[in-house]
Point group: C2
Chain length 174, copies 2
């Protein structure tokens, strides 16, 4: 086990600005490509990250600390952002993500003040018993998963363009 | 085929500062973790990216434009950065990468001035005929591959910490 709160926050606080720097001002070709029918483009991934800040991580953390394992916390719809037609530009979405994340990190620090709270258990609707520490670790790895998804989606766009080098490019050989 | 020079440069020029923002100031726990024996940590990945700027992309591009397919260009040692014991901090490496990349993009624009040059063919020591356009596309996807690698290596560190959520985290389920 490697989790500690300080290092987890190091990643959480870097993700929005990292994505802002990487994605702001990119051509639509990069922002609108996807991995085929039913897959997300870059802009949809940012929409999903915003939804997580609003309805997943902090609400679940607060729920566990309030209710413990007495009742399961409500499920999080991982596809809800697809139902909301958004006309926002990528820059607007990245700004919203950054603003929400700053707010959520402040809440995280307010809610978890002691090491013992990290061991508090809640009840996940599908998994059963989960710990606060596991929820926060998952928040971090969830960021990393979606950064990986964004660059994988973009790489896919050049699958044919790289010619024989495809063989050396791990991201195209999953 | 989706390649065009303007969009390729959009990615190439963003990568160093994106990584600088994401990695500068991270704890050693994040910078020194890897995926097991014989795999690279974050700092080694940046070393490899620096080597590419010095000895791979622009030297090969210049070679193809100068020699065409008359002789194969020299192989690039993808592991050479591991032979150089480096005491540089991650911040120093990121700065070197950014400086080299800026220089290489300037050279790229000097070397490739017309659409017709993108179709010029060279001889890869292993693959045989390759085109300038394929080399530049590969440079872009190579950036994306190594960004994906960095976040994958970091995610691996929390494999046990996320508990049952592992099931939902694609980056841990390759």
């Amino acid at each position: 086990m490697n989790f500690n709160m300080k290092e987890a926050i190091e990643v959480l606080e870097r993700t929005p600005q990292t994505l802002e720097y990487f994605l702001s001002g990119l051509s639509d070709g990069w922002l609108q490509c996807n991995e085929g029918e039913g897959t997300w483009d870059v802009s949809e991934v940012i929409g999903h990250l915003i939804e997580g800040e609003k309805n997943n991580w902090i609400p679940r953390l607060a729920f566990i600390l309030r209710e413990g394992g007495r009742k399961p916390f409500p499920p999080f719809d991982r596809f809800s952002h697809l139902n909301m037609k958004s006309e926002s530009s990528i820059e607007q979405k990245l700004l919203e993500f950054k603003t929400m994340r700053t707010h959520c990190i402040t809440r995280l620090k307010e809610l978890v003040e002691s090491e013992s709270q990290l061991k508090r258990a809640g009840s996940h609707p599908a998994f059963g018993v989960v710990k606060v520490k596991e929820l926060i670790s998952t928040w971090v790895v969830h960021d990393l998963t979606h950064i990986a998804q964004i660059v994988r989606v973009m790489a896919e766009r050049y699958r044919a363009d790289v010619g024989p080098w495809k063989e050396y490019l791990g991201i195209l050989n999953r």
